[in-house]
Symmetry: C2
Subunit: 297 residues, 2 copies
Amino acid sequence: MAKVIDGKSVAAALRLRVAAAAAGFSARVGRPPGLDVVLVGDDPASQVYVRNKGRACEEAGMRSTIHRLPVDVTQEALLSLLDGLMVDERVDGVLVQLPLPKHLDEQAVTDRVVPEKDVDGFHTLNLGKLTQEDETGFVACTPAGIMELLQRSGVSLAGKHVVVLGRSLIVGKPAALLAMQRKAWANATVTVCHSQTANLPALTRQADVLIAAIGKAEFVTADMVKPGAVVIDVGVNRVLDPSKKSGYRLAGDVHFATVSPLCEKITPVPGGVGPMTVAMLMRNTVKARRQNAAPGA
Amino acid sequence: MAKVIDGKSVAAALRLRVAAAAAGFSARVGRPPGLDVVLVGDDPASQVYVRNKGRACEEAGMRSTIHRLPVDVTQEALLSLLDGLMVDERVDGVLVQLPLPKHLDEQAVTDRVVPEKDVDGFHTLNLGKLTQEDETGFVACTPAGIMELLQRSGVSLAGKHVVVLGRSLIVGKPAALLAMQRKAWANATVTVCHSQTANLPALTRQADVLIAAIGKAEFVTADMVKPGAVVIDVGVNRVLDPSKKSGYRLAGDVHFATVSPLCEKITPVPGGVGPMTVAMLMRNTVKARRQNAAPGA
């Protein structure tokens, strides 16, 4: 098996399975899974993300609707749109693209998406279900994608020491909770490190599996990695690079050039965890469709 | 400061503060905080726990009501009692004493207690709020008591390595989530070990603060503890002891006799974490009273 984990090909395989499931719904009850994405304003990166998600859904035979709202939309208007989507039985999953403009209350907005349609896995109840290992909930797409990527790369976590670098609600904490679950492929011993950790290299060097989600370009260097470790790089950082037309290049949280020779396996940036995030969003939408009580609505 | 952390005296101080808060409510709005405890069947240990909780509340000037149900109560009758308590504005906190008889669905029963009255902190939404560091939620009494005990013993976790032995929903996971919070007294690097962990002694020996919650009598021995560590023993195990009238003695998860000489601080069993659990239940009930929208109902 290749040392560099090819997130694109794992994600492509997952998307094929999603497409098969979507086709099943279309054939059986005449309605494929449907995802509604809410985009506020015209941030270029958000526009790209939203377009990619929509396109991926359509390629898999799912319905996808993008709701574009002006940058100065009021909180009331945004909540009112969400409330409409919540009672619409044809809507299986709803995602509000973050970040939102400063005048909007991000927590109040994401909490307005009911847990049953929260395919992003950000709702408080879904975080609680993750902690409880209750599989009816939705898990945030990036940490879920990491676990899927590890499994499909033949890496079992059982009895391993997983070190998570970062304690965010979107990656670090859910990744830690997933890795320690009482499941045959999980059951890891888990350490969560972060910006306040003392002797960080001594801890990360213990990792059989190192998950870097600290948001600092090329932060993890060779001296921080045990030879033979599996390294998952969640970072997507822009680094100035005058040689590029755009003026920058994308870099992960891991210094790939020096770390990759040491590893048993490593994910690249881009092409590692990133593609998995979109694939897991699609899988969550299929799951929402399956759990949605309104069959052919 | 004494090496052996005196949980009884820390809990007593906390109960005095709870009593002052309760008196404030009684004086201002004529209604003290009220806790309703539901006890099914006649398990002797559960009877003792419930009686202790009720007595502690009354000593602090709080209302406490114990609802005793026969061991063969139906799920419907139990849920119906809970539903009545949920809509009763005079009821601030509700606790269902666990374990329940086998014919009852424990998850369905504990989920029937609304998050706002869930002073045990077992509801899915309260676990999610803990993960989100949302302080409007309720944290399970034992892990909350551990953190309180550490703070009141002058132990800061910031930058320390906390090793939690056990990944239960009631102690291990919430203790880990609390220790890693972005708070001045928390901010710890956290490792969660459990029954599937390889090289356990090598990991526990790294702990600046070791929290043992694995439920095995005297499991943690001297070779597993770093000299100078702080050791918190959550275990309450019955060990056969013919020299005792009852035929058994209580033992923690830590082999106190050999570990305590090594430690900077250690909690005894009994008299360590145990008394804190009841005190935190009372504090959670005061918090529920404060958040209850019905002032003098």
